[in-house]
């Protein structure tokens, strides 16, 4: 197990190094951030002073050397735009993204599992066919356009929910959260729903397939034969047994949700790390982009590792060693 973790971390370090180097030099060739940052009416001396302050006057190799040296001191550079350490900046935005992803997952399960079970119990009913058609649509619909349409309906035509932003927040243990205020909840709902619809379609399919299979098992027949009420059979015996695949797949999907949060956060102006990434790419804020990349690679490796461990705990037939090629 330890050897497995070490090999995984080694791989992650390699991926981080390769991607960070590509993006570091790539952003350098795309453009000079100083052109976007300073007042165009400033004279040449002011421009040069600004470049010196950000270290951009030095050759790219020297800049890269500073960057690599900084990593070993836990310093991923300072944002050109915000003038704060890049890592600190990203970590300050991370709670907003995690809150969004968490509520999206919650919505996906709370709505997706019951709908999938309905479709699985009565596969030929019109309501089940409608649910499955909706889930196919949920897979195909472009996420960002779906967000625009949600804004159009809820914010522009009905005017019942705000179009973007995060609303009022409350500090819990020093971290601002939205879901504890009414205004924050109203701001959270649309972006969370937008992020949830794709996962919901996935959960519906998993829950339907699981229900159709479990409903035929002997223990379900036995539970019925004992005279238990249908709601108890479905709510306890069936539900428990379909949750394992749902939970594992959703665990794997957490990483994807963080990636797709980039799109949702941009549409709804939600101040998380995804929106920060897009703003930083547009402003050529290299330290933030590179720091985001390294942090995400790390998070992905950890998520995959936890899912692997979860697999082997839930299903003893899966041995970790067997997965290493």
């Amino acid at each position: 197990m330890l050897a497995y973790l070490i090999r995984r971390l080694g791989q992650a370090a390699l991926v981080m190094a390769v991607m960070a180097t590509i993006v570091f030099f790539g952003l350098y060739t795309v453009g000079n951030p100083i052109d976007l940052l300073i007042n165009p009416e400033d004279d040449l001396a002011a421009q040069e002073a600004a470049m010196r302050r950000l270290g951009l006057d030095q050759p790219i190799w020297v800049q890269f050397g500073h960057f690599v040296g900084g990593i070993f001191e836990g310093d991923l550079g300072t944002s050109f735009v915000h003038n704060r350490p890049a890592l600190e900046l990203i970590l300050s935005r991370l709670p907003a993204t995690l809150e969004l992803v968490f509520f999206a997952m919650l919505l996906a399960v709370l709505i997706g599992v019951p709908l999938g079970m309905i479709a699985g119990l009565r596969p030929d009913a019109p309501s089940s066919k409608a649910i499955m058609a909706a889930s196919i649509l949920g897979f195909s619909i472009p996420n960002f356009w779906q967000g625009l349409m949600l804004i159009m309906l809820f914010a522009v035509y009905w005017g019942i929910l705000p179009a973007g932003g995060r609303g009022d927040t409350v500090d819990v243990l020093g971290i601002p959260v939205s879901f504890l205020t009414w205004d924050g909840l109203k701001h959270l709902f649309l972006p969370a729903l937008n992020l949830a619809i794709f996962k919901m379609s996935l959960v519906i399919r998993l829950a339907r397939a699981g229900t159709a299979e479990v409903a035929l098992q002997d223990y379900v027949k036995y539970a019925r034969a004992r005279g238990l009420s249908p709601s108890r059979v479905i709510g306890v015996h069936v539900l428990k047994n379909i949750l394992i695949p749902v939970v594992t797949v959703l665990g794997l999907e957490t990483g994807n949700a963080i990636a797709f949060a980039v799109v949702t956060e941009t549409v709804f102006a939600w101040p998380g790390i995804g929106k920060l990434l897009i703003d930083s790419i547009n402003l050529l804020d290299r330290p933030v982009v590179v720091a985001y990349l390294m942090l995400t690679v790390f998070m992905f490796v950890m998520i995959n590792f936890l899912v692997d461990i979860g697999y082997s705990l839930l299903d003893p037939r899966v041995r970790i060693q067997a997965r290493g090629r």
């Binding site: 791989q11 991926v15 590509i22 993006v23 060739t29 196919i136 472009p142 625009l148 980039v262 990434l277």
Partner: protein
């Protein structure tokens, strides 16, 4: 199975028409592709010819008639561009970007996947390790970071999509090739002392194609939606060559003032295209899937 079904292609067609929804989707897809290919002839106006657009016709709702009697079926954007024409031209860019990138990714995936299965050993481990690592990250995120480093441009979007997509094909091809390599016809080809490349491309290649075709249809839809998302985020195609994603992004600013049609209709076009491809792809998968064959 009818008696006329003698060639694989005819058998495929025969199975395909058994699903009415797949036939409707296939017809829709053909129409969409034809409209995109012959955009110049199909579109009511050339939206990028400044002589044809009239700024005074800007932001007209769908169904309006312009000053010179031109009928704007889907309305106009703020510069007086006919949205229907802009969508058809945008469709052309979306489709060609995804088609080119998937084609190249298929080629790379075929070569890499067959090489991994054929050579085995360290070649196999190296290629599959790269594939595994790449597939553990979401395609959209990898493409986004690559484009941050490459800058905007149609060619750069294609390059990023190729880098993201080849791994799916390499994995599928390797899996199929490992099964095929154990079969007698490969042993027969080997015992004839044919050169390796002739066995790979002459004998193995045709037999690993069915799963590749299935993955390719799915990945074209995937490529279209990744490209649209990248362009929406502002790192994809440049403003001079707007794809559907960029058209939707341009309409975003006008949505809040109620001018919904500028991003609504390009999105409908995108959605229809994706649904048609997915339905056709599902049907092809069901036909080619050996477990479903009678």
């Amino acid at each position: 199975m009818s008696a006329a079904a003698d060639t694989p292609l005819r058998r495929l067609a025969g199975d395909f028409v058994k699903s009415p929804s797949a036939v409707v989707a296939a017809i829709g897809l053909v129409l969409i592709v034809l409209a995109a290919v012959f955009a110049g002839a199909v579109a009511p106006q050339n939206p990028y010819d400044l002589a044809q657009i009239d700024i005074f016709d800007g932001s007209l709702p769908p169904g309006s008639t312009g000053f010179d009697g031109f009928h704007y079926l889907l309305g106009t954007d703020e510069q007086g561009r006919d949205m229907l024409s802009a969508i058809i031209y945008g469709l052309r860019i979306s489709l060609s970007v995804s088609f080119i990138s998937v084609s190249v990714a298929v080629l790379i995936g075929l070569v890499m996947g067959m090489l991994a299965a054929w050579r085995g050993g360290w070649v196999d481990s190296l290629i599959m390790r790269i594939v595994d690592i790449q597939l553990s990250f979401p395609a959209l995120l990898v493409a986004l970071l690559l484009l941050a480093a490459l800058g905007k441009g149609v060619d750069k979007v294609i390059l990023a999509l190729i880098i993201v997509l080849w791994a799916y094909f390499a994995r599928t091809v390797r899996g199929a090739a490992l099964v095929e390599i154990r079969k007698d016809y490969i042993t027969a080809a080997r015992s004839q002392a044919l050169p390796g490349w002739r066995i790979l491309f002459g004998h193995l290649l045709p037999n690993v194609m069915p799963p590749v075709i299935v993955i390719a249809t799915v990945q074209i839809a995937n490529a279209i939606s990744i490209e649209a998302a990248l362009s929406f985020l502002g790192v994809g195609v440049p403003i001079t060559e707007p794809s559907l994603g960029l058209l939707i992004a341009n309409g975003f600013d006008y949505l809040l003032s109620g001018r919904y049609w500028i991003s609504f209709y390009p999105g409908i076009a995108l959605l229809l295209t994706l649904v048609c491809i997915n339905v056709v792809g599902d049907q092809i998968r069901d036909i080619l899937n050996p477990r479903m064959q009678r």
